[in-house]
Amino acid sequence: MTGSFFRSRSAWAIAGLIVLFLFPVFFDRFYVYLTAIILLTGLCATSLNFVLGYGGVFQFHHAVFYGVGAYGTALMILKSGLSPWLGFIVGPVVAAVLGLIIGLICIRLSKLYFGMLQISLGSLVWAIVYRWYSFTGGDDGIHGVPLPDIISSPNGAYYFTLIVTSASMFVLYRMLKSPFGSALQGIRDNPVRSEMIGVNVRLQQLLALTIAGFFGGVAGALFVVVDNTVFPDMMFWTLSMELVIMCLLGGWLSYLGPMVGAAVIVLLRTYVSGITVYWALVLGIIMMLVIFFLPNGVLGYLDRFLKKKARAR
């Protein structure tokens, strides 16, 4: 039974990928761009959820890793003179290292304290980027990052984003289903007990934070590919809040929840803002409705709904 279930799940994944691959053939450039943004934002939110939803760590300043990944990539391309492809590795790696460092400092703290200390540290990083004009371009950011030819066209950027995102999503998924992932979820639910069964809670969480930082960085690097620019707002705390909201809105206990949340937010922003400047108001109201009626997020609701149906059958 599990076999057929798994098969159907991979079947769905493959079908989804095919649709996404064919997307540029049928749709206008703008929609391709929008999809790329959703994918990379969703990847960023998923990497956050790796520690937030599955690790129970209040990672409140995930945008730092997104931003650092982007800056790392952009600066590497602009300043090093080495192959731009190297930038796509350096950015995420720098983000991962930063994730480890910030993690080391914060890890002793619990919940809200963790989150707030992380916001402080993240804000320090942000302040440095914001103020270090000569290197980072200050609050104006860096614009017009040159890219290798094959990914500089809109479609090239889209396919690159699609491939990297799906690969990352797959890797993250495998990690969650691995013993490491089980231990991580155990820690989320009951850290004391986890320690009592021989899990080195801190170390386990640190690794998770590093991984999350890495994939946050990957998303940042993809942003450089899609939008060719970086700016300090990418690591401002408001964006981090938005990422948390994507996780919660989509469903932070389901794997694709954050991706769905990202899609919801990006689409709302795009379409509602075309109708009214009061789109924050609309977004706020929609969020409240979700909280009231879908307490487990959009996907959490669907999950439950489907399960209930399956049971009824």
């Binding site: 304290y113 804000s123 320090l124």
Partner: protein, 299 residues
């Protein structure tokens, strides 16, 4: 180096005094946040919006009463009441049903609320900057150490801070409602089962906390321009202050505000280039040495 001596000599004392008066508003707002966080466990992001609304209400009220001194005093009473009414509405229609939810969900809800409030303020008051004049008796300044000016209004603030701190401490530690709310923070259902109408207790605490945000807004109004977005910077600072001091601890909020305010003003004097990082550094240092804040938290 030159800079360093430059600021020590002509009255660092007055500098500190000024620094203190500015922490008062931070304190008042964060103490409300701390109360709500400590008792109701709601990380209330909309707290900043209520502060902004308090300031706008202060503008409207003082304007309505001729913009003079009388207007300010009436605003000092009416605006926090207005904010209280608004929070009462929010509590009864929203929060009331959600206390049992995950903290993160409440964070999401309050964030949504702050978005709504932000746009509502724009709808009601428009985009113009607003200004509330300093009440007449507090206008002007006196000369302190070495002829440096100190606004009289700041004296007023300096007195308000401790008064509010003591009142709040009495409320949480000495009154029954304070004790009930501390108990309810941990086990709401059981508090109900010993004959207490928890729903109202929570409502009252929420309203008190929120009106403190409103009060902060009124008090700040005469010193700044009342604008959209003034909630934004404040809320993050308030959260950091609360965390630094220890969640739910009134004195912690006071201490946190002091540290935050002083590192902010002194930090910029020491290293102008990266002045903005000092308060954050203070938070980092504090939390590294005291992972649950300086004073005991109720969490």
């Amino acid at each position: 180096m030159e800079n360093l001596f430059g600021f020590i000599s002509p009255g660092i004392l007055s500098q500190i005094l000024v620094g203190l008066s500015r922490t008062v508003i931070l304190f008042i707002v964060s103490s409300g946040l701390s109360l709500i966080l400590g008792v109701l466990r709601i990380p209330n992001v909309a707290h900043g919006s209520l502060y902004m609304i308090g300031a706008f209400m202060a503008y409207s009220v003082s304007h309505l009463f001729g913009g003079g001194t009388a207007g300010f005093w009436i605003a000092l009473i009416l605006a926090p009441l207005g904010v209280a009414a608004l929070s009462f509405l929010a509590e009864r229609s929203l929060f009331q049903f959600l206390y049992e939810r995950e903290h993160l969900m409440l964070l999401l809800l309050t964030f949504a609320l702050s978005l709504v409030f932000g746009d509502l303020v724009k709808l009601v008051w428009g985009a113009e900057y607003r200004s509330v004049p300093v009440p007449f008796i507090f206008q002007g300044y006196i000369n302190l150490f070495g002829g440096l000016p100190f606004p009289i209004y700041s004296f007023f603030l300096l007195i308000m801070g401790p008064v509010i701190a003591i009142l709040l401490w009495l409320l949480t530690n000495k009154t029954k409602i304070g004790k009930i709310s501390r108990a309810a923070a941990v086990d709401r259902e059981m508090v109900g089962a010993v004959g207490i109408n928890v729903s109202w207790v929570f409502g009252i605490v929420f309203i008190i906390g929120c009106s403190l945000a409103g009060l902060g807004g009124v008090l700040v109004a005469p010193t700044v321009s009342v604008t959209l977005g003034m909630d934004h910077t404040l809320i993050m600072e308030a959260f950091l202050i609360v965390i630094m001091g220890g969640l739910g601890n009134v004195w912690g909020a006071l201490l946190g505000a002091l540290i935050f305010g002083l590192t902010q003003s002194l930090g910029i004097l020491i290293w102008p280039q990266f002045g903005i990082v000092f308060p954050y550094l203070a938070v980092v240092v504090v939390l590294i040495f005291r992972p649950t804040g300086i004073l005991r938290s109720t969490w």
